[in-house]
């Protein structure tokens, strides 16, 4: 049997090269657009920073969409499904490897932004960015920022991280749930006009899944609204709780479908 770690590394390898390709295309776009700015005479010390912000956000969405697509393809291909590993391990390795690669991409983006911000801000002593960076490095900016924050800010920050990661995973598990349900149901429908039937089926399944999710969220909000009050921390933690519950439900449903019903595409 293949271990979870081995499967994770094998799937991660493919996705790692995909992410690097996206980053290379982004770099190319930044270089071209910066050169254009230079030619038009609008180049400043902050051009690279702003260029990375705009191209970086597009690249992040491209990475997210391509990783989502890769996730779903992996679930349906014999190349991966024939590996001797349990369905839970396989599912987890696939989703986790995508998450790790998206986080890697986000970290690379953040590092590039910080570097270009430092280059740009330190390069122009008259800019607002220069003043901001000075405050950042001599500590006065930190003190001002932290003094305005509530005492439990580390917990708030942790809660927000959980919510952000949870939403990201929830989007992927929901896409997979819709994909699996549609694939399973289409196996029970007559072969004729499969394309039309699939489009209608996708619309119906998407509508059903979003209805069920919103119903669950409504129920959860109804029963927990009494605990929330005006505390930001409790609102964040209750949101995180709702996301985790939904996530667990969807993961269990996906693994069940994968085990019992979802077939790979035939050779």
């Amino acid at each position: 049997m293949t271990s979870f770690g081995t499967m994770f590394r094998a799937l991660n390898r493919n996705k790692f090269s995909l992410i690097n390709q996206i980053f290379l295309v982004e770099l190319l776009a930044v270089v071209v657009s910066s050169l254009w700015t230079l030619v038009t005479g609008h180049f400043s010390s902050m051009t690279l920073f702003y260029s990375f912000i705009s191209w970086g956000s597009i690249a992040w969405w491209v990475a997210f969409i391509l990783l989502s697509r890769k996730n779903e393809q992996t679930f349906m291909q014999d190349t991966y499904r024939l590996v001797p590993i349990g369905d839970g391990g396989f599912y987890g390795a696939n989703v986790l490897s995508s998450l790790v690669e998206l986080l890697y991409f986000s970290v690379v983006q953040a590092v590039v932004l910080v570097i270009t911000m430092l280059i740009g801000g330190m390069g122009n002593v008259d800019s607002d960015m220069h003043a901001f960076l000075n405050g950042f490095f001599d500590g006065s900016g930190w003190h001002a920022a932290l003094s305005g924050m509530p005492a439990n800010w580390p917990w708030l920050f942790l809660g927000m991280v959980i919510v952000a990661l949870g939403i990201l995973l929830l989007v992927w598990t929901t896409i997979t749930l819709i994909h699996f349900l549609t694939s399973v149901i289409s196996n029970f429908l007559p072969r004729g006009r499969q394309r039309v039937v699939l489009v209608i089926l996708y619309i119906v399944v998407i509508w059903l899944v979003t209805r069920i999710i919103s119903l669950l969220v409504m129920l959860y909000t109804k029963y927990t609204s009494g605990f929330v009050g005006a505390h930001v921390a409790s609102q964040i933690y209750l949101a995180a709780g709702a996301i985790v519950i939904l996530l667990v439900l969807e993961v269990v449903a996906n693994i069940f479908l994968l085990k019992k019903w979802v077939e790979t595409q035939a050779n």
């Binding site: 081995t6 024939l82 035939a266």
Partner: protein, 236 residues
């Protein structure tokens, strides 16, 4: 002799159409079996049911294991490498196999590559259909498993290479392993077959030793197989 495969009352339906029903099939270890049947008879589906890629009713046990994840560790299937993009280099495909299959034998793979004249530095996109099939055969046979499932492994391969592979296939198979070959080149694979399994009328029509066909009917495997279809109902 022990059984490597036991299928009991296996049925499979898709898009409201029965593809296979009431399949009972037992295969012993150490045999080479020809899986025969016309196009669309259900040969590939039968293999997919064994690997767990298709979900049917009934029980399938490979080397005594009925749990799909365990079953997979006993099976090497000639998968078409659809999970890799065309820009993937063969070296990367091999690294993937080596990583995820503990029974992958790199030494045997290298020998197979030399025998089949495969250049592992190429990308998948630069391989001809025949060369890709050779790669698939090499990857499938480089694993040390109990059951090999080769689904039309010779399509696209030139006749000289095909004959060369068929005549040497016994060399690459572990002694106690069973190999199931589904192919349309019946006359070419017939000499190496120990048994034949014919899929017809959505079930196992016959399963018998290859020698018994020659002895009882006095004809070759291909003639016997074709005679079953003469005047018979055609299924697609």
């Amino acid at each position: 002799m022990t059984n490597v495969l036991a299928m009991n009352q296996v049925s499979y339906k898709r898009n409201l159409k029965t593809i296979l029903h009431d399949v009972d099939l037992t295969l012993e270890t150490g045999k080479i079996i020809g899986l025969l049947g016309e196009n669309g008879a259900g040969k590939t589906t039968l293999m997919r049911l064994i690997t767990g890629s298709a979900k049917g009713k009934g029980t399938v046990a490979v080397s005594g294991d009925t749990v799909i994840a365990n079953r997979k560790s006993h099976i090497s299937f000639s998968e078409q490498l659809h999970g890799f993009s065309n820009s993937t280099k063969l070296d990367e495909v091999i690294a993937f196999y080596q990583r995820v299959y503990a029974d992958f034998d790199p030494k045997q793979f290298t020998e197979l590559c030399t025998f089949l004249q495969i250049d592992t530095s190429l990308k998948l996109s630069s391989l001809s259909k025949g060369m890709k099939e050779k790669v698939i055969i090499a990857l499938t046979l480089a694993r040390r498993t109990n059951l090999y499932l080769l689904d039309e492994p010779f399509s696209g391969i030139d006749s000289m290479s095909r004959k060369k592979i068929i005549s040497s296939i016994i060399k690459w198979k572990p002694e106690n392993a069973t190999m199931v070959i589904s192919d349309h080149y019946v006359s070419e694979i017939a000499p190496i077959l120990d048994e034949i399994v014919i899929v017809k009328d959505q079930t196992i029509y016959t399963h018998r030793p290859a020698d018994s066909v020659r002895e009882e009917f006095g004809v070759g495997i291909e003639a016997y197989y074709e005679s079953l279809y003469e005047g018979g109902v055609q299924h697609d």
